[in-house]
């Protein structure tokens, strides 16, 4: 009845395993690439090619149109590394990242936690909290510029009312970066909030039910359930916030133009100035390259350290 075919036994285990597995793997690779094809093509044309071009240009002096004129080797880089102005840029960039990323994420997290409570009318608050997402950088910056205005802005009016010394928020090198950061945090909160709220809502309700029965405190739940379960989302938003912070441009252009005394001249703004105002495409490319590798490093670090701690279901 059972025709336990001798043939089965004869096929060596090894050969079945390798050929079968190889075929399956190849199949997977092909299918996988098929799904990725549109992305790969578009990335190649609109991201990798320009990036390589940028890398290439960073070794050249160029004319206004970005056409390379002279090969100068690493000159663009060495000059940058010596230039105090570039040092300020790096410092400003790092400071900006430090000001905006942690504060922004914590604020968004607080908002998301609040908005995750089951209360009447919570939908309204959720909408309000996410509303800055609907604002363009240009529009928000214009509004903030207005608020920071030392003569007519609301902040100075409030300071006047409280008899505080008035501070020229955007004109004092001490406060300018901070002020831009506050505006930036405000602008980014809506999006981070929405993402985090989504993450919170995806956590299985039963895990909280058990915690409630166990009678643990709110903070304990936050530490032991919410944050670990939210970790994929947090990981995502942290990574993205870092990258975005490194690449902030719009609000700086409108609020401070990199001033005063270059205190807000973050690298991206400096790249923009070099490439589009001063027409030093070579130098801009060199800065872009450096920026790219800086972010890359931070991100690799984050993936190395972070993704291990991230818990996926």
């Amino acid at each position: 009845m059972s025709s336990l075919p001798e043939a089965h036994a004869k096929i060596s285990l090894g050969s079945v395993k390798t050929t079968g597995m190889k075929r399956r793997r190849l199949h997977h690779t092909i299918i996988g690439l098929l799904y990725l094809l549109p992305s790969i093509i578009l990335f190649a044309v609109f991201l990798f090619y320009p990036m390589l071009r940028t890398l290439y240009l960073s070794f050249y002096l160029t004319d206004g149109q970005g056409v390379p004129i002279t090969f100068v080797g690493l000159d663009n880089f060495t000059y940058l590394l010596d230039s105090p102005s570039f040092h300020t840029s790096i410092k400003a960039t790092l400071l900006f990242v430090c000001y905006t990323v942690p504060a922004g994420i914590i604020l968004a997290l607080i908002l998301a936690l609040l908005a995750n409570e089951k209360l009447k009318g919570i939908g309204f608050f959720r909408t309000m909290f996410s509303s800055t997402m609907g604002m363009s950088v240009a529009a928000s910056s214009v509004i903030w510029m207005f608020m920071y205005n030392p003569s007519i802005g609301i902040l100075s009016k409030v300071a006047e009312f409280l008899e505080l010394p008035d501070i020229q928020w955007l004109l004092d090198p001490q406060y300018a970066l901070l002020s831009v950061s506050v505006a930036t945090i405000w602008m980014n909160t809506g999006f981070a909030f929405l993402i985090l709220l989504g993450g919170l809502q995806n956590i299985d309700e039963q895990l909280y039910e058990n915690a409630q029965i166990a009678g643990v405190s709110y903070w304990y739940q936050l530490r032991k359930i919410t944050l670990p379960m939210l970790s994929p989302t947090l990981f995502f938003i942290i990574t993205v916030s870092f990258i975005n912070a490194f690449q902030t441009f719009g609000q700086i252009d409108i609020l401070t133009k990199g001033g005063p005394i270059e205190s807000t001249n973050v690298i991206v703004y400096s790249i923009y100035k070099d490439a589009f105002i001063n027409f030093n495409v070579g130098s801009a490319s060199a800065q872009a390259t450096i920026l790219f590798f800086c972010i890359l490093m931070v991100t690799i670090l984050q993936f190395k350290l972070g993704e291990r701690k991230v818990h996926y279901q």
Binding site: L61, T62, D63, G64, Q65, G66, I69, T70, S85, M145, N149, P150, S151, I152, P165, D166, Q168, L170, L171, P173, T256, K257, G258, G259, P260, I261, E262, K273, F276, I277, N278, F279, N280
Partner: protein
């Protein structure tokens, strides 16, 4: 349907697709926004209606910097515009770019009489006797002051300070304090390189060597001489005395400060006067730029922008563009432009037009700006510097100005800026050398 301009621009857009057969299309890239764009569109419309062969399409392309970037990327291709508006500091860059056709060619061909143009304006755009572009929207700096505040401080509202020491005195009187807090400052200058350049030129100071770059490619900044230092010292001193207010880099912030009574005197562009008078809740006075006590007043450099013609496009289009340029400089058009925009008329004949006279009656302040320009002595200082790295150099000067507020020594700040300008110049020359 909702307004003249909106239908206009729509037509312009549509027309570009249809390409009405008989007409030569002249694309005009500009950076005029707000009211200015409205005025410009109107002029173009009237021109298009005035004749049959040419169709001018003004298209906004962002700020001066942005439009220049765009021009850069498309120059020499079919996407390039026929006419391009470029700000004054881009002049040298355009000349060097090789992508433009100097208008001198058409002036010569046409035997066009350029003497009808305001010499002090067209001078800026002519190098070694060649007129490169046609001046279009030009402005100069003036002192703007609050007449009411003057009265209150016991100053003569009709006579604004003309020298640095008078300025300092007046500023002192105008500065009002409420306890520790200053509620009204005497004077202010926007942190913008242009004002420094003007204050330098009005004492006859040069920005760079090679006769302000007009004899050859400049190699060195000269603005850190004692004339430049006088300007910087003025700012530094007044700031220390507490009579000077730092308004930052933003034009609108500066005007807001003035209009809200935070500052009593400041430097502004002639083009902004009219709106200022309209909106200010007090009487506004306008006066000439101050000079150091021992210096002889030289006048001002022209600011603003001019229009350029692309090369590498059909002769027909160039001719059409030239026709439009000529149209722009007619007294009637200039009168209109002056009244609507606040920019100078390139053709002084415009000032005789009825329209202008009426306007001046309403805004006597406008006349002051024109007078200042006309009294300007023509020399290399007031002709303005010609360097390709002007934008970069201006950034350096701005940084230097800002560091004054942090208590930096004026000389040191100025030297630092000059040094960095030198380096930029060096790089630019290096590129050009190859």
């Amino acid at each position: 349907s909702s307004g003249t301009t909106s239908t206009d621009s729509k037509e312009a857009g549509d027309a570009s697709k249809q390409d009405s057969p008989g007409k030569t299309e002249v694309v005009f890239w500009h950076a005029m926004s707000g009211e200015l764009e409205t005025a410009l569109n109107e002029i173009a419309k009237e021109f298009n209606e005035s004749q049959e062969e040419i169709e001018v399409k003004p298209i906004f392309q962002g700020t001066y910097e942005e439009s220049l970037t765009k021009f850069n990327t498309v120059a020499g291709t079919e996407d390039a515009p026929t006419i391009m508006q470029v700000f004054e500091v881009g002049t040298k860059y355009m000349i060097d770019s090789g992508k433009i056709q100097p208008v001198q060619k058409f002036i010569d061909e046409d035997n066009y009489d350029t003497s009808q143009w305001e010499k002090n304006i067209s001078n800026y755009y002519s190098v070694n006797g060649t007129q490169y572009s046609m001046p279009f929207n030009s402005s100069t700096p003036v002192v703007v002051y609050n007449k009411d505040a003057f009265k209150e401080a016991g100053l003569d509202p009709e006579n604004a300070p003309m020298t640095y020491s008078e300025l300092k005195e007046a500023a002192k009187k105008l500065t009002k304090k409420d306890g520790d807090k200053t509620t009204q400052y005497g004077f202010s200058i926007l942190n913008y390189g242009w004002f420094f350049e003007e204050l330098l030129a009005s004492q006859g100071g040069l920005y760079v060597d090679q006769e302000n770059g007009r004899k050859g490619d400049a190699t060195k900044a000269t603005y850190n001489d004692e004339k430049g230092l006088k300007v910087f010292s003025l700012i530094s001193d007044m700031y220390k005395e507490g009579t000077y207010y730092n308004v930052g880099q933003n034009w609108d912030d500066m005007r807001a400060a003035f209009q809200s009574g935070k500052i009593a005197m400041y430097l502004d562009s002639s083009a902004g006067i009219r709106a200022l008078v309209d909106n200010a809740p007090f009487e506004v006075g306008v006066s000439y730029l101050p000079v150091p006590d021992d210096a002889e007043r030289q006048g001002v450099i022209i600011g603003g922008a001019s229009v350029w013609m692309s090369n590498g496009i059909s002769e027909e289009k160039q001719k059409g563009a030239w026709k439009f340029m000529k149209y722009l400089t007619t007294p009637e058009v200039q009168a209109k432009w002056h009244v609507k925009s606040g920019y100078f008329a390139i053709n002084p004949a415009a000032y005789e037009e009825e329209m202008v006279k009426q306007e001046w009656e309403k805004y006597p302040q406008l006349k002051v700006t024109v007078d200042q320009l006309r009294e300007t002595k023509a020399n290399t200082a007031t002709q303005g510097a010609l360097i390709s790295v002007f934008p970069e150099s201006r950034q350096k000067v701005v940084t230097a100005m800002e560091s004054l507020y942090q208590g930096m020594d004026p000389k040191k700040a100025l030297d630092q800026a000059a040094e960095e300008t030198n380096r930029a110049l060096e790089m630019a020359n290096k590129k050009k050398g190859k």
